[in-house]
């Protein structure tokens, strides 16, 4: 081998000059944290599908009751317990308004002389299930979002203060959390709802009462991780005050984790609301959420399965989509996954 090299004439070699400016050249466009996260979440098909499902459900929750020719509250007793009937699809033999009556398949719309369409059917009082289901979705989403935002604000503030100031403040605040953390959520939620007037606000308060604790622990851990890092020290040396360090340096860094955690709080809140309504502690009639609709449907499942079916599907889809999106965001924001 060494002989071969000697045969190559010296002039075919050329000295490479190291241009020191090249070392600093950025070859790829620099991506912000968000652009980077977006690039990664775009590859996650499940998360993208979830975004579309969520958008669809949220839009329908507001548009649905308006699109339907029937009002959610109007009770038309003569139209009670109708199965779903959809124009167009009825010719295919599905959604054609045929239901069982005394063991026989009958076109209930014809029998009751109803000439309109109820896309999701009607309930025992002749109310349009399509409007009711979407209005219920609206309420469920409202409760979930408000509860999640309150959890986030209280949790981040509490955990942030505790972690940032440390020392005695942290000690006292953490002892309180340690005691509260032991209280089972279920127990406190049920007790609170027994005492308060049932309604949206009561449910939100009951859910948030212990809901913020998980977020506060995560926020504290994150703040502890960042507050002693060099860039914070640098900023402090340059004369930045606590307010500036928190808002400009710490918050942007822990935002990803906070968002992920909030994404998982939302389905938990949706579930708790539905659960409470199901055991009879939730909203009271005439207000309806997905939980109360499912509870109503459960009572007549043998005779009118369609009343249970649609709210259950919407609720399950919401939960699946939020969980998948949360998973996707966790992968997208996780710096360990960076390639």
């Amino acid at each position: 081998m060494s002989l071969d090299i000697k045969k190559i004439p010296a002039e075919s070699f050329e000295r490479v000059h190291i241009d020191s400016s090249h070392a600093e050249r950025i070859t790829k466009p620099s991506l912000s944290f968000w652009q980077d996260a977006w690039l990664r979440i775009r590859k996650n098909k499940a998360a993208i599908a979830s975004i579309f499902i969520l958008l669809f459900i949220i839009i329908m929750a507001f548009v649905g009751p308006m699109v339907s020719p029937h009002d959610a509250e109007t009770q038309t007793i003569t139209h009670a317990n109708l199965p779903p009937k959809v124009p167009g699809l009825e010719k295919l033999g599905i959604f054609d308004g045929v239901g069982t009556l005394a063991g026989k398949e009958v076109d209930l719309y014809e029998m009751k002389k109803v000439d309109t369409y109820y896309w999701f059917g009607t309930d025992g009082l002749g109310r349009d299930m399509f409007s009711r289901a979407w209005e219920g979705t609206q309420i469920s989403l409202l409760i979930a979002f408000v509860a999640a935002v309150i959890d986030m604000v209280i949790g981040v503030a509490y955990g942030g203060i505790s972690g940032y100031y440390g020392g005695r403040t942290d000690d006292i605040m953490q002892r309180i959390v340690e005691i509260l953390y032991g209280i089972p959520t279920l127990v406190i939620v049920i007790l609170m709802l027994l005492v308060m007037e049932p309604g949206v606000i009561a449910i939100v308060i009951a859910i948030t009462l212990t809901g913020w604790i998980g977020m506060s622990r995560i926020a504290r851990g994150q703040v502890l991780k960042f507050k002693n890092q060099e860039f914070v020290l640098a900023s402090r040396t340059l004369g930045a005050g606590n307010g500036r360090i928190i808002s400009k340096h710490i918050l942007p860094n822990i935002l990803g984790v906070i968002i992920i955690n909030t994404m998982f709080t939302i389905p938990t809140a949706i579930f708790f609301e539905a659960f409470l309504s199901f055991i009879g502690l939730g909203l009271q009639a005439p207000d309806a959420s997905l939980g109360t609709l499912i509870n109503d449907g459960y009572k007549v499942i043998r005779f009118q399965p369609h009343i249970l079916l649609y709210p259950s599907i919407i609720l399950s889809l919401l939960m699946i989509a939020f969980n998948l999106l949360g998973d996707g965001l966790r992968d997208a924001f996780d710096p360990k996954m960076k390639d």
């Binding site: 032991g182 089972p184 279920l186 055991i279 459960y298």
Partner: protein, 310 residues
């Protein structure tokens, strides 16, 4: 270790004391008393009944008596069930709840571990996606929706299982247990999958591979064992989930368990049962979390508990 345990026990008692006090005062703040829903009583009769239950005494005295009785393990008497003691009522109904709870937990965790292992060993294949899908569905679909579906199809339509009640012995417990198992199943499978993937990429697995250990041996002897340890930590939240689930599932399948009694007590304002059951659930969950934490320190020598929560 001892110091840590003492500290934890002290916190447990503070938490329980808080819960007991909060329960008491919240119940006092409730609109209406258990007697107000009874058939019409004249004011003098009402006073007599109130005196009998000690409801005429000032609230602090009632509170002190209640706390003293609690310390003795006496949860008071039910207003609803002919003065039966709450402790007894709970004990009588413990059987079915414990049975479906443990069956659900064992079934769920066992299948969950299996699914999680398959997903980790066959990462990014159809197996992996399939088991992830089952896990997502298990987490997302509320247990009461799932229970209703099981009841409707398997019991009502096909008649394979009893629809409800506790009359057919063990057969009656199958559907409720399956419904309860979905939560633990989903949690366990996702957890095991993440842990296994992490363990499989660690150095000692590479060493085992280079020494010529078979795939089976690596999966079970090395990876699985180490992935299993952290699973202990989710047992606490799982237990809480099972209790929550049991409330609705006992309701759906009309099982004479604690959850069903609790929901009934809520609607009939029987506050000694509500207080008793609340405390019972709290003690149960707090003790489980404590035991799990201590157990974790014992099983996994890498964890040192002495440092406390920091």
């Amino acid at each position: 270790m001892t110091k840590y345990m003492i500290r934890r026990i002290v916190y447990m008692f503070i938490t329980l004391f808080l819960i007991a006090s909060a329960t008491f005062f919240l119940m006092k703040a409730l609109p209406g008393s258990p007697i107000s829903s009874a058939p019409k009583l004249s004011p003098s009769q009402l006073a007599m009944v109130e005196a009998k239950y000690g409801l005429d005494e000032p609230v602090p005295v009632q509170y002190a008596k209640y706390m003293l009785n609690l310390a003795k393990g006496d949860l008071g008497n039910s207003f609803q069930f002919k003065n039966a003691s709450v402790t007894e009522l709970i004990m009588n109904r413990l059987g079915p709840s414990v049975l479906i709870g443990t069956q659900g937990l064992i079934l769920g965790v066992a299948i969950g571990i299996l699914l999680g292992m398959i997903a980790a060993l066959r990462q990014n294949t159809v197996w992996d996606y399939g088991s992830t899908l089952i896990a997502i569905i298990g987490i997302s679909i509320p247990s009461f929706v799932f229970a209703t579906l099981l009841q409707y199809w398997l019991a009502v339509e096909w008649g394979l299982f009893p629809v409800g009640l506790w009359k057919d012995g063990w057969m009656s417990s199958i559907l409720p247990s399956v419904a309860l198992a979905m939560g633990p199943l989903a949690t366990a499978s996702r957890f095991i999958r993440t842990e296994m993937i992490e363990v499989l990429s660690s150095d000692y697995i590479t060493l085992a591979k280079s020494k010529g250990a078979s795939g089976f041996e690596i999966a079970f002897k090395h990876a699985f064992r180490n992935a299993l340890i952290p699973l202990v930590t989710v047992l606490g939240p799982l237990a809480a989930g099972l209790v929550t689930g049991s409330l609705v599932i006992e309701q759906i399948f009309a099982i004479p368990g604690i959850g069903e009694q609790f929901v009934k007590a809520i609607t009939s304002n029987d506050f000694s049962i509500i207080m008793g059951t609340t405390l019972f659930y709290s003690v149960l969950l707090i003790v489980i979390i404590f035991v799990v934490d201590v157990l974790y320190g014992i099983i996994d020598p890498r964890i040192r508990l002495s440092g406390g929560s920091k």
